[in-house]
């Protein structure tokens, strides 16, 4: 366990000056920042709507971009970025000859990639809340102050995080096995397109494709029950797609370790 914590510390130390790390912070910041500028300069168009609707519209801009396109691509990039740091420096042999169990080195790396995705998505929620409230202060006519959906936003992005874990585990393994960017990226992109198509045509078993999970997670996000008042929103986190995403990630993560162990260190 100590090896895991040391490896995790080292992962942070060596990646803190890389694009992979900064992307985790900059991506949500920039997306929400520009959305907010749009809201600020067009306040007359968005003003007047009730609080709930204002929040929903504001949040859905980043949420739709993220869920539909950006999240799978971002996860592919993060999985590549944490592994490429070792490929580029030719440091796998050093990592696996440290007096730390190979399992902990591997697990810490995966956990770190997971942490980056988690931080990004939580920052999406936090920046949405922050910028929303800031806009509410600067332009009181946009009715952000009338409604609070902090918890809902955190739940929404947490669900997106869980739905991305299947993709992450597969891409992590691909990026670990191949040192170049094109192979894991190409395969990931193809599978993602497959997911989009299967989801688009409403294929019944689209939930079996991890790359479709973020989209499916958005679809199943807000279940509407007949007796619910229209202003009430409930987030259904643990839906079928999320369970499958979690299952895939656990299986691929464990299988990945045995594949890595069998693979000779070049």
């Amino acid at each position: 366990m100590k090896g895991f914590i040391l490896s995790l510390k080292s992962e942070f130390y060596k990646s803190r000056k890389t694009l992979g790390f900064w992307a985790a912070i900059l991506l949500p910041f920039l997306l929400l920042f520009f959305t907010s500028i749009g809201y600020y300069t067009n306040s007359d168009k968005v003003a007047g709507a009730p609080g709930l609707l204002t929040w929903m519209r504001f949040a859905s801009i980043a949420l739709n971009v993220m869920g539909a396109l950006l999240l799978p691509m971002y996860v592919i990039f993060i999985a590549y970025s944490v592994n490429s740091i070792e490929h580029k420096a030719d440091t796998w042999k050093t990592l696996f000859s440290l007096p730390i169990g190979k399992w902990w080195v591997y697990a810490a790396k995966f956990f770190y990639a997971m942490l980056l995705v988690f931080i990004t998505l939580m920052l999406f929620a936090l920046f949405t809340i922050g910028f929303g409230n800031l806009l509410g202060l600067l332009k009181p006519e946009i009715k952000f102050a009338d409604y609070h959906m902090e918890l809902i936003l955190l739940q929404v992005y947490f669900k997106l995080f869980l739905s991305a874990l299947g993709i992450l585990s597969i891409q992590f393994l691909l990026s670990l096995l191949w040192s170049d960017f094109l192979k894991p990226m190409g395969i990931g992109f193809l599978l993602f397109i497959t997911g989009v198509i299967c989801n688009g045509v409403g294929w019944k078993y689209a939930y079996t494709i991890p790359y479709a999970h973020p989209m499916l997670a958005l679809k199943s996000m807000f279940p509407r029950k007949p007796n619910m008042p229209p202003t009430q929103i409930v987030v259904d986190i643990f839906t079928q797609d999320v369970f499958i995403s979690l299952g895939v990630s656990v299986v691929v993560f464990i299988a990945g370790f045995y594949i890595v162990q069998k693979k000779s260190v070049k």
Binding site: S7, S10, K14, K17, T18, A89, T94, S97, S264
Partner: protein
């Protein structure tokens, strides 16, 4: 023995890269692991570090087995394999700090290592901008950081300038003499190994050709005295008359067996006294190829 292998074999597909290798590396030695490129040196080092799994045989390091004592063994080894593994986006110092985090070593040791390999001035420069020699020195600093009992260095003088090579050589000698450390060092250059090693193993095509103390190797390698004069034929005749066996002669130079420094002086005087002009006279070692020939011929006998 610090390292002891018996019948170590590694197959890559159908090819046997390391063939029944039995190495014995005594404590406090500088063990030169000599072989041409592609002989299986790096593969052997990777087997010794548990980076590759051997097909057959047995490895004991500090008398311990990897199966049950992996962490304990690796915590006492510092290694440098092929090109040094360095994060080019980090500075030299950050590379060392990163390793210090992993090994729970105090930061003061990092500065000590930088000083030791003379990188203090370049400590805050990105390692990607280092010259090959600086990278190699940083690699050595990384290997030495945990103050290991055993150092495994794979061609560590690659890319170093003559001064750098001498520094590394002196450093390794000091570490073994003063601190009782053991150094396992691979190279394809016989001359380099001869200058520092106490023990030598020679491998070719995955097989061990020779293993023993450096003195034993010297008897095998049979150095010669190479002489350039204004008349090689006369010089050869003169030396033969005086009981020397001329091993090689051409227009340019001739060679006789090396006996001692004093004897080389005598040859020089003899040639001078007879009126021949000696342009150069010096001891030469056999190169690795000729040494291989010698060893294999000896084995055949």
């Amino acid at each position: 023995m610090v390292i002891e292998t018996t019948g170590l074999t590694f197959n890559f597909g159908s090819q046997t890269v390391v063939n029944s290798l039995s190495l014995q590396v005594p404590q406090g030695s500088i063990y030169g692991f000599l072989g041409p490129n592609g002989a299986g040196k790096t593969t052997t080092i990777k087997l010794l570090l548990n980076l590759l799994q051997h097909s057959q045989g047995d490895i004991k390091i500090f008398g311990l087995d990897f199966a049950t004592n992996r962490t304990q063994i690796l915590s006492q080894i510092g290694s440098l394999i092929e090109q040094p593994a360095i994060y080019s986006h980090l500075t030299g110092r950050e590379n060392l700090i990163n390793r210090a985090i992993l090994l729970q070593i105090n930061e003061s040791r990092v500065d000590e290592m930088l000083k030791l390999v003379q990188l203090t001035d370049a400590a805050h420069k990105k390692a990607g901008k280092y010259s090959l020699g600086m990278k190699q020195r940083l690699g050595i600093a990384l290997a030495l950081l945990p103050d290991p009992k055993l150092l495994m260095l794979d061609e560590p003088t690659n890319g170093l300038d003559p001064n750098g090579i001498i520094e590394i050589r002196e450093l390794l000698k000091r570490l073994t003499k003063e601190q009782g450390k053991t150094v396992f060092i691979s190279s394809h250059l016989l001359a380099e190994i001869e200058r520092m090693a106490t023990h030598v193993a020679i491998i070719n095509k995955g097989k061990l050709l020779f293993q023993g103390e450096i003195k034993e190797l010297e008897t095998l390698s049979k150095p010669q005295v190479r002489i350039e004069t204004n008349n090689t034929v006369d010089a050869a005749n003169l030396l033969t008359k005086n009981g020397y066996v001329v091993a090689e002669i051409n227009n340019d130079h001739l060679s006789v067996a090396y006996k001692s420094k004093e004897d080389t002086g005598k040859i020089n005087a003899l040639l001078n006294q007879t009126g021949l002009t000696v342009y150069s006279i010096h001891k030469v070692q056999k190169d690795l190829e000729n040494l291989f020939l010698n060893i294999t011929q000896n084995q055949a006998v």
